[in-house]
């Protein structure tokens, strides 16, 4: 599917979701599934969390879609994706990314297929954090830029383990959330610049998020994502500060300030992020 078509499809799904609430499961508490991250999994904006996308509880299913835009000094990333939640056990996702590089007058396109399995727990109720194991298979449409920069492959598979917990009334009575994700990856800048490289070393990278709920609908948070520097271009960690507004169980909107560090030799890439997710 062309990205523009996927985007239209997702927006149509969101509209359908808003106009016909209640088709699918809504058995989770408001805001507990989180939002959608740039590779299509439920999470924050840049980190996949242990929660599965959508409000389905263990006897329900749900479908969702999202579109996000990240705009920094020299680049822009557009993503749209769809997500399915099967009985709060398995999350399936598919996303298409388009990374605009105005300096080269080119768009780098990539698709991401994801699966996440909940291994244990519930972020609200279980004694220990909710734990999930996930995989994201990413594939570039065209590896010209990746090859030019010295990447070894045009596709790769990330595997991650995520732990999440919401503490009710924990900090001054406010609900407090945290997530830690350990990811094995060879991806350069999400894979948009290919996979592996001369400086590559196999290891696990740390990602983390934390948020405080100012009300039932509004969360304020911070995310961190450690990244490899396989290409020797000085790839750095990503960080963001976000506000997520959970209007209802059908739709949420996230805005963030991004600090993506150096991307392909262009340093200090900061900017804005906006994302909309709808479930039906």
């Amino acid at each position: 599917m062309k990205r523009a078509n996927l985007c239209r499809f997702v927006l149509a799904c969101c509209a359908l979701g808003i106009s016909t609430p209640g088709i699918a499961g809504s058995g989770k508490l408001l805001a507990t599934p989180g939002v959608s991250q740039v590779e299509g999994s439920a999470g924050g904006g840049i980190v996949p969390w242990a929660q599965l996308a959508g409000y389905a509880s263990e006897e329900q299913w749900s479908l969702g879609g999202f579109c996000s835009r990240a705009s920094v000094d020299d680049y822009r990333l557009d993503v749209c994706g769809i997500q399915a939640n099967l009985f709060d056990r398995v999350e399936l996702s598919y996303a298409e990314q388009s990374f605009a590089v105005p300096a080269l007058n080119t768009d780098i396109e990539q698709s991401v297929s994801g699966v996440k399995v909940r291994l244990y727990g519930d972020i609200v109720y279980s004694t220990w954090p909710q734990l999930s194991l996930g995989m994201q298979h990413k594939s570039l449409k065209d590896d010209a830029v990746a090859a030019l920069l010295g990447a070894e492959d045009d596709s790769g598979t990330d595997i991650y383990l995520a732990a999440s917990k919401l503490h009710l009334g924990a900090l001054g009575g406010f609900n407090t959330f945290w997530n830690i994700t350990a990811r094995h990856t060879e991806a350069n800048q999400l894979g948009l610049l290919g996979y592996g490289g001369q400086q590559g070393s196999e290891r696990i990278y740390l990602e983390a998020s934390t948020a405080i709920f100012l009300s039932q609908n509004l969360a304020l948070g911070y995310e961190y994502r450690e990244k490899p520097d396989n290409l020797g271009l000085g790839e750095q960690q990503w960080q963001d500060v976000f506000v997520a507004w959970f209007i209802n169980k059908q739709i949420n909107i996230t805005a963030a300030w991004l600090d993506l560090g150096s991307i392909a030799g262009q340093s200090d890439q900061t900017g804005w992020y906006v994302s909309v997710t709808g479930y039906f």
Partner: protein, 150 residues
Amino acid sequence: MVKKLTRNASRVLYGLILLLASVGLSGCQSASQPTLYQQIGGEAGLESLVDLFIDQIGRDKVILPYFAKANVSHFRQGFITHLCDTLDGPCDYQGDSMVQIHTGMQITEADFNRVVELLINAMTEAGIAHTTQNQILARLAPLRGEVIKI
């Protein structure tokens, strides 16, 4: 580069540890703080909250059937005493255990959360502060295992 990444990673870990520590510590209340029972207005506040909650249940097509055979005034008095006890009020709940009450009802995860939402609605209608609502839910959440799927 590696050093910088490691430093940043450890900074994040340190922050998370601090957060977790404060989450743990906030469980210890100082003696001067009013109890949750006092914060919701004592006996009168509790009774009006439970009445608003019963109104919410009465209007909910999904949850009302669970109460088809229930005696409302028995439920009202039992819930008031149970909540009073749970929220550190001057009560000692001696009624049936949560397991005894809910056995055979086969309450699903989704319906349990729906009841939580009805209680949140009732607390909001009663004018209970968001932060107090969260602390009340934190007291009730551990009971879920004695309520659902039995």
